[in-house]
Symmetry: C2
Subunit: 214 residues, 2 copies
């Protein structure tokens, strides 16, 4: 794509994400997105043929940004359980004001099929969590009798359940504390007694950087 | 309302629930609902002035049925933790084929504001779970240091996270086993060591009645 075409496409995505995040899929209209993005109707339709297609592109871009933000939490030397704790906070960060990421979360639910333009997004997240859980078993942080597929999926379920309930009850600011509570309750079922304190404190320390000043 | 008007309203709700559950909010059209419900266009518009209003009435009716199904799991003599375990399976029952309940779950997400015609549905569920958690502390099943508001909310988050991920990855049939896994991991963080086995087994026994024959 030409540089200018790429810039136009990006401008449309950003304006669309803002509108979808504010109004939701049903209420955000293409006409409004056109007037707010400063692009012409022709330019928008050159890149996206429908609201559905545009929304799916927003999901793809939002998820790519979320993946990048999660990757910054760890490298190959980070113990996997510390990485799992780190990315759990990224997934629920209430100070996140990137409309592309926020719209992706909202659209995944509202479009009802949990896809961007391609695969089911949750399949990929599940695999990532399960791979990290398997490494946490190998590293001796999760107990040896932990089923990594079950544990990985459960942690993802917890993350999205926490997010869903906070969105529904308009309590997004409380998300980091709730994630810490969730870890406190989860850890005794997944790690040896001797390590519960360390990882509970690790989660509580991570919490501090996500607290929104009141 | 006259008997016949009530019957018409109910016929519209049932047809609408089937359509919303099958196609989702965006794709289900009023015209289709009219032809499938066997009521006239005039009758539908007499009771519901818009798709939005009709969908909210489906949420109300679906949630009322879900509440009734949950209430059957316990009475005032049932220990609260046993009641919490019982209703967690009702919430994720894969053999549930009541379109009104299923459409309510779907519409709550897709409409984005988590309301029926009135209050935020999740506020009421949160209160119920928190009240049961408080009683579980009083009854000595949850540890004395358990914060019932946190524990109640966490159990609801787990229930909806489990459901959300299963819908997203088209694995609804696996929900009861996943709920049992969740209880197994949760219980050591919430109940005394001496009781973990009893309640894990209680959850596993409840599981058996929700398994879908394969």
């Amino acid at each position: 794509m030409q540089k200018r075409a790429i810039a136009t496409r990006q401008a449309v995505l950003v304006a669309a994400a803002e509108a979808f995040n504010r109004m939701g899929y049903v209420n955000a209209g293409l006409q409004e997105i056109i007037s707010e993005s400063g692009v012409t109707k022709g330019s928008l339709y050159f890149h996206f043929s429908s609201k559905d297609q545009l929304a799916r592109a927003v999901i793809d871009e939002g998820c790519a940004r979320l993946d990048a933000a999660c990757s910054q939490q760890f490298d190959s030397r980070t113990p996997a359980l510390e990485a799992l704790i780190g990315i759990s906070y990224v997934m629920i960060d209430p100070s996140n004001n990137d409309n592309l990421m926020l719209a992706a979360f909202r659209l995944l639910n509202e479009m009802g099929d949990f896809r961007g333009t391609g695969h089911v997004v949750f399949d990929q997240w599940t695999s990532t969590y399960q791979a990290l859980a398997a490494r946490a078993v190998e590293e001796g942080d999760f107990r040896a009798d932990t089923n990594p597929d079950e544990a990985g999926r459960l942690l993802l379920e917890m993350t999205f359940g926490t997010r869903l309930l906070a969105v529904a009850t308009d309590t997004l600011r409380e998300l980091p504390e709730r994630m810490t509570t969730a870890w406190k309750v989860f850890l005794p079922g997944l790690v040896d007694d001797a390590k519960v304190d360390y990882f509970s404190q690790f989660a509580a320390r991570r919490l501090s950087s996500y607290l929104v000043p009141s």
